[in-house]
Symmetry: C2
Subunit: 222 residues, 2 copies
DNA sequence: CCACCATTCAATCGAGTTCTTGATTACTCG
DNA sequence: CGAGTAATCAAGAACTCGATTGAATGGTGG
């Protein structure tokens, strides 16, 4: 095998990973799976695709070795093949967000001006948590919290936020996090907490970013 | 704009980056540009593509904001749009290498069994360099060395290696590095140095990985 | 200002992708 | 065993992508 042939074959394989990330729907599937494993049906519902189409995309991802599946009774559960895949997805998304002005424009027009709710970054949160200055809440759905969450965080899904507000401290800052930078849950939580008179900020990034940064994650026993 | 529409549009833009990485030839172009900027003609020659085809791929990359170009006289020079792009490429390549057994097979069959030449990783090199135990040589072509190299490394292109062997210390280990994990230059250098009776190992990864790790890089003034 | 050269553009063809629809498989539960 | 359900498979229509060819552009140097 000569050099040219070797390179062609290796780059061909590397490009398979790129191909897997080349479809918007597959990117979305990976982002969802970065939270926790899911069934095909759930993913189809969440992405608005037909079942068959969802299944097809998942098989492309499996072909690229980015996801794995496990059958349990009637349901097939898909999950990321390794945490490195989540980190890769975040890297692609971050490069896109950094370089592509159109994404910036879209985020602004959808989230409104986010500048009011200043976000805290992960290293800052770690420091302030050590000093006991903050309370961390996870506003994702309970099953995502159960699969993995920031150590010390309390599960407060948006649906029960209003009932829980009274139990949150008014003398400390509440830091809310959710799925990632394009997830609105934390913004919504911060907005509501502020309306209730608490000090609240969102965390830059969500659970996948936290995990990718190598910071400690806990999960509930099944 | 509703949530579904927002997601579709954002993922669409993110997938553009994936698309850019979805062709073997474009992956190769990015890897080459991770070393230093190049003209279209040089890239066409290096990849074995026609000029028009090379130009077309470069424009796809520019469309995804991964590369930039600059015209100087007759020649157009392309370069990565940001170091983050090099890091992204490395991340994609590493995930591919980790998950895809076929790549492992290809590397083995092309490099032969590499296990004889134990490689040193970057943090280990930094330690041993501080203790003065090693000499670092850069075996890439001189223009790539000029564009960026490991601080303290000496430029020893393979073409002049044999003449330079006599000037390398026999009481310290020589660490050779080149373009990256799929580059054969460092292996070849290590092999020849060992035949000459020196202690030699290669560095895990090449210059782009070194830079991506945030380790110090120097460049010659133009 | 003309000949030349690096690069890009435009048009084309074959190959590959995406999504849909309807059939099929594999498993569970009554 | 047989009805019901989650998921996959198979095949086709519309679309996109990749490489080639030949022409066009824009800058250089005689």
């Amino acid at each position: 095998m000569n050099k040219r042939e070797f390179k062609d074959r290796v780059y061909e394989r590397v490009a398979l990973v790129g191909k897997a990330l080349a479809s918007p729907k597959r990117v979305e599937l990976i982002e969802l799976l970065a939270q926790t494993e899911r069934t095909v049906e759930w993913l189809a519902l969440a992405t608005g695709m037909s079942l068959a189409n969802t299944s097809q995309h998942l098989q492309v991802l499996r072909g690229a070795q980015l996801v794995e599946s496990r059958k349990e009774g009637l349901y097939v559960h898909y999950r990321l093949a390794s945490p490195a895949v989540g980190a890769l997805h975040a890297a692609v998304r971050d490069v896109a967000a950094e370089r592509d002005a159109e994404i910036d424009r879209l985020v602004r027009s959808y989230f409104g001006d986010r500048s009011g709710l200043d976000a805290v970054d992960m290293s800052e949160l770690v420091e302030r948590a050590e000093r006991g200055e903050v309370v961390v809440i996870d506003v994702r759905p309970p099953e995502e919290f159960a699969a993995a969450h920031v150590v010390g965080a309390r599960s407060v899904p948006l649906s029960i936020l209003d009932e829980v507000v009274a139990t949150l401290p008014r003398d400390r800052t509440v830091v809310a996090y959710c799925r990632g930078p394009f997830c609105v849950l934390a913004d919504e939580a911060v907005k509501r907490l502020r309306e209730a008179g608490l000090r609240a900020v969102r965390l830059h990034g969500g659970l996948p970013e936290w995990r990718a940064a190598g910071l400690p994650v806990a999960s509930d026993a099944a």
